[in-house]
Symmetry: C2
Subunit: 308 residues, 2 copies
């Protein structure tokens, strides 16, 4: 195998009560990437989308992730990379994670699965460092493992693959800008112990709900008393959307990553589409451009579309 | 059925990283209680142990728990109660919870299982309120449900029964006094967000480990960066015991409830006994009286010993 084409999923980090540790892969939207293995130590990156992202390897998330992989592999190899991005940068749907995770998963296929998934997460975290300044793994882990993942610890890396509940996900991306760095900066460095207890009760409930496939428990646990009250200030319409989506039958949901996208979980497609209608109504009325997705949880992460 | 005799298990609240939300029932030590259903609206309590606990119903944890149950039941009933306590008050092993939980479970058997387990927890929490000033459920829940339980929320009450991993538990109770109220008062009301994130990563890992029966993951997740560093100051020898027990093969462990008891999990009886030896050596050398238990996780909670 010399060339491979893959689909790389969007991801929802945090999952409401799991700030910095939980993440979930979606079936839609997704980027496509083509990688070709070459015998020269160069990384050539080309974007076929219109987002104007840097193509120089050392300034591109896929480039720095591949660089880390090549350094570890040790041999005289390189890659030609073509990226077609559909996950809009700055959407809060793991756009940068898709770039770096997709690149190293594809490269690993071309290298006959030389590396473990955990290795790949480690390489991909270099892309996150470039994009956000922090080596976090809550988007790259679900992108690579699929389903819902827990990053129990980053140093040392400890990733636990949970499950991919049979739920629908509705996402709205209001087209406003929220920089991850800003979203991180407005958080308080100290939190009330009583709020932290509530939060770890909820994440424990959410993990139990996911592993026991207890859908009402998942719904009851989707509560964030620490991050959401602060970050939601940056997202116009958040409170109204959340309340109306729950009234329309959503199990619950919240900010995707650091926003501005909002996601909601639903038990079936009919509810997921009603929720989409609610989101559409709110942002249309507010005169804010937006994009919606009705999708499901992606159980496998990056998918191979073709290889030769 | 007019009379019943039961065994009521000791419990380990918090389970290291699950402060105020997790708890686990043990097979040893346990109290025994006898209850007789009578037609008068009185609660007569007699202790056959030497702990000098109050026997007046309104000052006794079993008494106030039964009072709450009777109020809800509505009829003209009462109970003769005989308690033989083996779980030493103030040990951090759920002594007060055993009194109140045992009483209402036994009463419910005599009332043909009129109430749900959740109801029984609600009644038993009145005993905890009397004993500690706070209506917490992290000891009464495992005492009534068995195994390891999660109290996701107290108001409204939301108890999730997790599992009872096939692990050994070694406990040492150094005979020093740590008042629950003091142990609570020394905690800081605010915690660092970065510590809270670590803690909820660990509780998520612990719950996943318990439900997936992933023993190494349980071990890796038994880390408390918030409560233990403060509360362990009240327990002489804690740091040494913990380190040496882990060196002796324990998966991990920490303070049981608010202490002073320390518990350690182990994969088999040989390790559990080695851990007991370590505890014995440390407290013998320090000249502190102590008691140890080598036991397993109790999967069912309160057990019926006899009934007539």
């Amino acid at each position: 195998m010399k060339k491979i084409k893959i689909a790389v999923p969007a991801t929802v980090a945090n999952l409401v009560c799991g700030f910095d540790v939980l993440g979930m892969a979606l079936n839609d939207p997704y980027d496509t990437m083509e990688l070709e293995l070459i015998d020269e130590p160069v990384i050539n990156i080309k974007h076929t989308d219109d987002y104007g992202l840097p193509e120089a390897a050392e300034q591109n998330v896929a480039g720095v992730a591949l660089q880390a992989l090549i350094e570890d592999f040790g041999n005289n190899i390189g890659f030609n990379v073509t990226v077609h991005k559909n996950i809009k940068p700055g959407s809060g749907l793991g756009s940068s994670a898709a770039g770096s995770a997709g690149a190293v998963v594809a490269a690993n296929h071309l290298l006959n699965e030389h590396f473990s998934k955990e290795d790949l997460v480690r390489f991909a975290m270099n892309g996150e460092k470039l994009a956000t300044g922090v080596k976090h793994a809550d988007n790259v882990a679900p992108c690579i493992y699929g389903g819902i993942t827990l990053v129990r610890s980053v140093f040392p890396l400890d990733i636990i693959s949970l499950a991919a509940p049979d739920l629908f996900v509705t996402v709205v991306h209001p087209q406003i800008e929220v920089k991850t760095a800003d979203a991180r900066q407005i958080l308080r460095k100290e939190v009330q112990l009583k709020d932290a207890i509530k939060q770890w009760g909820n994440i424990a409930g959410l993990v139990a709900g996911i592993l026991k496939n207890d859908i009402p428990l998942i719904g009851r646990s989707l509560e964030d008393v620490i991050i959401e009250p602060i970050r939601s200030i940056l997202i116009p319409g958040f409170g109204v959307v959340k309340q109306m989506c729950k009234e329309a039958g959503a199990l619950g949901g919240g900010i995707s990553g650091s926003g501005p996208s909002i996601f909601m979980l639903g038990e079936n497609e009919a509810i997921a589409k009603q929720v989409e209608q609610v989101m559409t109504n709110v942002y249309s009325a507010m005169g804010i451009d937006f994009k919606t997705y009705v999708t499901t949880i992606n159980p496998q992460g990056v998918k191979i579309l073709s290889s030769e």
